[in-house]
Symmetry: C2
């Protein structure tokens, strides 16, 4: 399976390419009508973005630096780089609120141009926000504007090279503007793959994966993105940071792990050296059924703690299973009962591992359901955000949130977050959950929420999200397993790492970005 | 196999318990005589340590804080916490140079007492150096004294609890003063193990493992110490940093990886939550022979890149194999020729994995040599430092240094370091090397050097170490894979992470330790 890169940018107020979305499946529509009632939303309001605040002199400097083709100030170009793709972002875009539009979109073609851009931004006190795929769901693309002369969106679209391949060390150097499918297509020409498939894969970029410490749907087999990175280059206003002398070492703190997850607040990542693997000759995805979420989670834990990890491992709770959300093409359609687990094996020869994993799962109460449902999951694995647009169209507020904890706290966290959401949003709310990332010591919990849209859906979601977020922190869990901090999670992130942790991040920020132009207000509390 | 904790502290000028050392094996002595000539060293000079510079008032404050039993100012107690166990450290100790002795040894019993001690140190401008096993070989226990009112050695010997065990999440909370065998003995009572066996295992401590980003002889199977840590507590002069909300997350940079490797310069680690495993029911160690170091290294690379990692994987080069250094009890004795590989399997049932690994090794040109040599390696795995003392006794300068790189650069790095050492130390120098840590993308290289001691062995080694260190950096490799930075590696560490990397570390240090009392001069360039 190769992934064709999407042909154009994402829609300004919807996910991806609306032509790929298709109408709401009949079964889903029926279900929505039954649960919430259908209220067709008004068409999105189309408004003109604010007049850019950059002076003619500043624009001229940018044009001299990058060439006139790479300094864009048109309404559409700015609208398309306004905020990300969280449900609040979409609601604001639909309502015609483009107050966060950047003043200009600039497209550097090299590390040197990024450095020069940062120097220019410091000189003119312009806030800069790096732009890869524009898929943030936590406000990572909406920096603080107050106090700055303007906001520049640094679109890394021209930095798309596979710069180096080393098939002895099995590493590759990728530029940050490569989107997921583009990176995989270039690597596939060399018989290699990265194996990083977050749900945003079709649009999200290598730089974004690194900056947000992303995790993919095949993380059980290929690892989180932060585990793939062995080196990186960061352009900062204070100079370039080049890291990656070795796979691992004892040479002080691992500064790579300080750059990973820095969300543009410490600098702009201009290259990433990643560990790569051989393209798998075989891929098998299958479904399993477990009696309950707890039983299925215990089975996952057994696999993780006994070195039996498949490539993909995902478990839906009873509600998500009943709604058949794992098969995006048939949500609300036929279901299996119990809890659905998706198990995927990729490799040169998967038979041996598959036999071991299958034997373990059967021993733990699992019933094999065959490959058809596994293949259905693969076919729809990047489709969920389109469904959200369709739900918003019919008056349903839909959004996701996620966390992670240690195994012993899994059930408590699950209940706490569900309770927080339904307490805030009311009884007609549907909360689904799945586990999609598994470690020896714990797992992620990914929640999908759907509820009838209130008068003020932004405030409705803000309150629900705040309550669920506080429940995560109160349970000792993380505020985000793979969506990053952005602006939306800062308040709880501060609680998670405490005042000393916050002071460390602020000190690093002050050192690398003394005038504070780098994605101000993002990540650092 | 359980490991009995050593009954007392290490000797002041030799490794470990000299009673465990035994005389130089005959074969080794013959070899030394042949290669270098035997020159019995003078007995170590015994001198009185300098008069402590602490005032009576300061000592009284310390006694009030910790109780009089836990403020030690005796000569012997201070001598035993002077520097670490590098060859230069031993040479200075043998020569009676105890100028780096701390002014007092203090023994806090809790996190709160550590915090209070740090406050006191700031108040009186006393430098503090955390002390666990005293096994540093990079000068990590010799902070800068100039500009401070005195130096306190904070011995964590009273903080030895296994504070918490969670057999669902498979984590345990360990206190920093636990030495390797003590931690394993406590975990073994619960049927668990950590699996971290650096050569210093018998003396080194949990806090030291974390502070130096340590790696063990079974890292192929159990991972580096930094990969085992899921949470930690750091006492700093600015308050406590508590990290570890989840196995992994996207909540900003991973600050755990900033504390790991911080070598006492950012604070004192007072607790570590580690991932643990079930005690293995089976353990098999065997030896393999390869025609050359390159052939053996390629075989290791194949295992690492094909998910075939055993628990222990170690390869000696031709010279180390010829000297039979992998078997400490018979160095210089019978050898196998070619290059010796040690392969260890530990687990509930090792047969399946062993068969796969063995088939792969045979396919790559390996010849199985059976378990006897594997067991001999296990029996002697912690013994090498004793051999060094015996060599120093007969006028041979012996020391180790280590690095890591990506597979494609392995051979170039190997040659560069060997050439640097022999160029500086002369033709009679013997340089041995082994690979003991293997990753998908690269490996470590561990060198042992032996040469006839010159008039000024400290200067002799300084020059050789400097030349070899520069060769590592010039080859793009790390200055240390598992010995940490200490004071000895700072100059090259600065080159490795560059000026922006250094500025980040200094900024974090300034934030957490504004008066600079934490292990001054250690780690941060």
């Amino acid at each position: 399976m190769t992934h064709e890169p999407p042909s154009h940018e994402m829609h300004a107020s919807r996910w991806g390419d609306p032509a790929s979305a298709g109408p709401l499946p009949d079964a889903t529509r029926d279900l929505v009508e039954l649960a919430f009632g259908i209220r067709e939303s008004p068409a999105a309001v189309d408004v003109t973005v604010p007049v850019p605040s950059l002076s003619p002199g500043q624009l001229e400097e940018l044009r001299v630096l990058l060439g006139p083709d790479h300094v864009l100030t048109g309404d559409e170009e700015r609208r398309l780089r306004t905020r990300g793709k969280s449900t609040p972002d979409l609601l604001r875009a639909r309502a015609g609120d483009v107050a966060d539009a950047p003043d200009a979109v600039v497209r550097p073609g090299s590390h040197a141009e990024v450095e020069a851009l940062l120097a220019l931004a410091v000189r003119h006190h312009l806030a800069v926000v790096p732009f890869g795929g524009g898929t943030s769901v936590t406000g990572g693309l909406a920096p603080r504007r107050e106090g700055f002369a303007g906001v520049l969106s640094i679109d890394l679209v021209r930095m798309k090279a596979l710069r180096e391949v080393d098939t002895v060390s099995m590493t590759a150097v990728l530029e940050p503007g490569l989107r997921g499918p583009e990176a995989e297509a270039l690597l596939a020409e060399e018989g290699l793959l990265l194996g990083h498939y977050p749900q945003s894969f079709e649009y999200a970029s290598i730089g974004g994966f690194a900056a947000t410490r992303s995790s993919g749907q095949s993380s059980a087999g290929y690892g989180r993105f932060d585990a793939m990175v062995v080196g990186l280059t960061l352009a900062t206003p204070q100079g370039t940071l080049e890291l990656g002398s070795s796979p691992a070492n004892a040479a002080g703190p691992d500064l790579r792990q300080l750059v990973l997850g820095s969300e543009g607040a410490f600098g702009i990542i201009t290259a990433v050296r990643v560990r790569v693997r051989r393209l798998p000759a075989q891929k098998v995805y299958e479904a399993w059924q477990f009696g309950s979420f707890s039983e299925g989670a215990d089975a996952m834990r057994h696999l993780a703690q006994n070195a039996l990890m498949p490539t993909v491992l995902r478990l839906s709770d009873e509600t998500e299973t009943a709604l058949n959300l794992a098969s995006q093409s048939d949500v609300g359609g036929g279901t299996t009962g119990g809890c659905l687990m998706i198990v995927g094996h990729e490799g040169p020869d998967v038979a041996g591992r598959r036999a071991l994993v299958s034997a373990a799962l059967e021993g733990l109460g699992g019933t094999p359901l065959g490959e058809e449902r596994g293949d259905a999951w693969v076919a729809g694995r990047f489709h969920a955000p389109y469904l959200r647009d369709s739900l918003l169209d019919v008056g349903v507020l839909a959004e996701t949130l996620e966390t992670a904890t240690f195994w012993a706290d899994r059930e408590r966290l699950y209940t706490a977050v569900k309770d927080a959401l339904t307490a805030e949003l009311g009884d007609r709310t549907i909360v689904l959950c799945h586990i999609s990332h598994v470690y020896e010591t714990g797992c992620s919990l990914y929640f999908t929420v759907a509820t009838p849209q209130a008068e003020d859906p932004l405030e409705q979601w803000r309150a629900a999200k705040a309550r669920a977020s506080q429940a995560m922190i109160d349970a000792g869990a993380t505020i985000t397993h793979h969506h990053a901090v952005g602006t939306d999670h800062r308040e709880w992130f501060a609680q998670e790492i405490g005042p000393v942790g916050v002071s460390i991040l602020r000190a690093v920020k002050a050192e690398l970005d003394p005038t504070g132009v780098l994605n101000p207000g993002v990540m650092i509390p």
